[in-house]
Amino acid sequence: MTGRAALRGLFGTLAAVAAAEVTVRAAGGFSGDLPAPTQVLAAAGEQLADGEFTDAVGATLRVWAYGMLIAVGVAVPAGFLLSSIRALGTACQAIVEFLRPIPSVALIPLALLVFPAPDRMKTSLVVYASVWPILLNTLYALRQVDRVQLDTLKVFGFGAAARAWFVSLPSSVPFILTGVRVSASVALIVAISTELLAVGDTGIGTYLAQTQSAGGQTDQMLAGALWAGVIGLLINGALTTAERRAARWWPVSGKEGVA
């Protein structure tokens, strides 16, 4: 994003917020007393000092991080396995194509049944949702590995496992990062929706559900949603930067992942 574009974006945001502020204030509050943006911002500021809220954020991020770690740990080796054993790859293709479109939230009842502990339950759904983009990008990456690079190492006496480690894996890194970036956003959405739909003991979603059911806390509710957005933005920004960095000193020809 250029400086000018950023400035325009900022201007647009400010204008929208100001419009909302004026509208809400002029209307004297809608039903359920919708708070004005400044009130939401004030509540967001207070939440930083609110232990209950920060604990909830921590809990969601923990689930998110564990889920992502497990997803990478499952999807990348699975990708290597499926693409190195062709028969296995074709055998699994149908299963993958069937499982992938199932929305994670549709699996909440099943997850509740299998994992009674809320953290495990949430993590399992995060893993489920995150595995697919990483797996698909890994599979895609492995189809792009340069034959000449593989042949070169073969000539220099590298066996199949060593070639996977020294050529296939490094040349897949940018694609895997793309998968991780896509998964990261999905994982956050899944973690929070699971908390919202299957109320556990803590987490951003749980917090939001509670502010809603308690009534009269719409400023905190919207402030919580604001923070969720900020966290999503930060995660995406960090991963986009990592991806771009990797692309710079990790030149792989024709890098174009599957989003």
Binding site: T152, K154, V155, F156, V167, P170, W250, P251, V252, S253
Partner: protein, 249 residues
Amino acid sequence: MLTIDALTHSYPGGHTAVDDLSLAVEAGELVTVVGPSGCGKSTLLRCIAGLQRPTGGRVLLNGDEIRDVPDSLAMVFQSYGRSLLPWLSVRDNVALVLRHRYGSRRERRAAALEALAEVGLADAAAKHPGQLSGGMQQRVAIARALAYGPKLLLMDEPFGSVDAQTREDLEDLLLALRARTPVTVVLVTHDIDESVYLGDRVVVLTGAPGRVLAELPVGLPADRDQIKTRQDPEFVRLRAEVGRLVREK
């Protein structure tokens, strides 16, 4: 040292790339194989390297049939840009293939730096391949191949995609390195002048499918020079002869 016995290779789909090709290479020789594009030169080298099982005939290295990649063999590929690993520094590209030669990383890196110095690239060691020109990348590929310490070095049109000046420099580099190292070289090219300038012997292949059309010993002094050698009557005679054979159908 290397014996190719009635080698035939057909790709799936029935296309025959090499047909009944026989050739013997003595230890220490530099044999150039020249033939038109598509006549099966790369296929021949891939069969020698053990990257491809020929559909017919045999390749023997010191009397043993090649079934897998022999460990005393190195290869310089035509597309140097794709054969170096772009995410490793030049030094690490060379050091990587020395894993089986040296135990410690320090020794490998030291040997890699030495090999790069041999090809005049000591200063580029920390750079990544993408930061180097094509000619420099091919130097790295040559340094890597020789650092590996092969008895047999295969080169597939190694200087095919660099400019004329760089090409001459690389040709002379190869001759200089080879004078210092006891290595047998099979170099494939479609360039007639190059085949004569570099070779102790020129093997001319027919057009597709490749077969040996003629073998010409090169009666030029070992010490070659881009200007003088090319004016030598023997050079002029040979290149005319090779040229005539290559064009023959």
